[in-house]
Amino acid sequence: MSLSQQKLLLYGGLLIAGIVAPFVFPNYTFQITVLWVMILFALTWDILGGQMGYNSLGNIFFFGAGMYVCAIVQIGLYYDVGQYTASYGAVKVEFTSEQYYTGLFLGIAAAGLSSVVFAVIFGWVVFGLRGPYFAIGTLGFTLAAGELVGAWEYVGGGGGIALPVYPGEPDDRSLFFYTISFVLAISTFAFLRWLYSGRFGLAANAIRDDEEKAEGMGIHTMRYKTVGWAIAAFFLGMSGAVFGNMIGFIEPLEVAFPTVTFGIFMVIMCLLGGKGTLWGPVVGATLFHTFKEVTWTYLLGWQWVALGALIIILVVFFQQGIMGWAQDKWPERFGIAVERADTAEVADQEAAQ
């Protein structure tokens, strides 16, 4: 079987597995949905972190921002948002089925687009910082955003905001959100696969390897950085919108902007799987999510300690991640080899024989 046939089989198999999973494991639908979200987290972080060498600790900002934008759109289309949050609990607010779906899909679209705008604005501010300053800067403004939103009464302040109730049965609801999350994750993967095959992939890697050299060769580094972050923001924003609706209730620091937890998990997942590769984040996310679910169930109380220890061990001993390790072990499979021909002519002749 040729390499491309193998790949096709792999993709097809995973696709089918993803489609049937909620039917085969109905009790785990929620966890698998979260898995797709984690995969999206890892893939989007890797655009800037792995491919470009800009370690952002603030990507979760777009997740939370998208969540809130979507909520504002969903509610705001039919009611006054300020009144809605103020009267929550006292008054039951109804949404018709049609209102729900319109609001939701418009909200998701708005979330994606607004996140792109945020990325462009913040990028302009923050891309002049390098290395640790960039990381701390992004961490800083995400923490700040969480605090600010928590003090903003219009969207419910620290109490959070309740989202419109899904018009249907609980089982249908789980399947509905599972499907959207699955589709988002697949779309992200497919889009990135296409993106990395073009010039963007090389430019991003050049920036990672030596940004000053890249500038000295005339590369429009700012463009690639901004576009990369905008793409990450786009998918993260939509994912946040969906996730908020799935949980049903948005709390600013716990659900929307969990900076110190999920914001950092993104990084760990990519480290574990292998930064700067397409499958690395996927593998890393899957392993990490499984590890997390297992420790939460069996190590309750100590799960965070286990997580912290995992982070230290990964960073100190296993930074190249699984894909990096595979590349070291089997370089030829990744196309790294010394060719026999010394010149193009000889190579052509050999190929023609």
Partner: protein, 254 residues
């Protein structure tokens, strides 16, 4: 003959040290110009000033008549003014072909081309240039795994891929095995004559630069000491005193 680079009254100080002191020089188009001087005379500082690595304290630098002393590094590079580094800088985690492809001239890259693949002709051009420097068989290796000399050649090939009008070379023969130096010089000359790239070369290797350059500038202690053809420089008292010293006196006595 138009001047590629016009440096007028350029000074640059770092803290208390005046690295460049009112330098005036011209780099003519289509030739090879040399820049020599003892260690610490301000050669690399001048290069850095020209490519925009740091701002200059006073003076003006013109590239084909355009003032570049307040422009950013990328903008200057996109005009066709490139430099290579003494310590040799390449994209160490990418393979050689990719290093070459990313080095295409970026003045024509747009937001749309960002998402497109590189056409086959560019890959062929990259491979031809790699062949030119003798790295064809190693083109799929990760560039960081190459030897120092091979990396230097790769950096040079990448510079050529960018179709520069002017290439600043910072000690191109440093760290190269003497037997390989001739090969490098041949390639430099080929670039200058066949590919029409103007070269501005910092060198410590006297035989090399005397052979290669059409005219030479000599710096000493941040100031321009002398300039002229290789023969004139070789016989200039001031240069000999500042720099060549024992070297050439010993030779004359043979």
């Amino acid at each position: 003959m138009t001047e590629m680079i016009e440096v007028r009254g350029v000074s640059k100080a770092f803290g208390g040290i005046l690295a460049n002191d009112t330098i005036n020089l011209d780099v003519p188009e289509g030739r090879v110009t040399g820049l020599i001087g003892p260690n610490g005379s301000g050669k690399t500082t001048l290069f850095n000033s020209i490519v925009g690595y740091h701002p200059i304290d006073e003076g003006s630098i013109k590239f084909k008549g355009l003032e570049i002393s307040d422009m950013h590094v990328q903008e200057i590079a996109r005009l066709g003014l490139l430099r290579t580094f003494q310590q040799t800088r390449i994209y160490s985690k990418m393979n050689c072909v990719d290093n070459m492809l990313i080095s295409v001239p970026h003045r024509t890259e747009t937001y749309r081309t960002m998402f497109q693949e590189y056409p086959a002709e560019l890959t062929e051009k990259a491979e031809r240039l790699l062949e030119f420097v003798g790295l064809y068989s190693k083109r799929r290796l990760i560039s960081g795994d190459l030897s120092f000399g091979q990396q230097k050649l790769l950096e040079f090939a990448m510079a050529l891929m960018n179709e520069p009008k002017l290439l600043l070379l910072d000690e191109p023969t440093a760290g190269i095995n003497p037997t390989l130096i001739n090969g490098l010089i041949d390639r430099l000359q080929h670039a200058a004559t066949e590919l029409g790239v103007t070269l501005f070369v910092i060198e410590h290797n006297m035989p090399v630069i005397m052979n290669l350059a059409d005219n030479i500038f000599c710096l000493s202690n941040g100031k321009l000491l002398a300039h002229g053809t290789p023969n004139e420089i070789k016989n200039d008292e001031r240069v000999i005193n500042a720099y060549l010293g024992a070297h050439f006196e010993a030779e004359d006595e043979d």
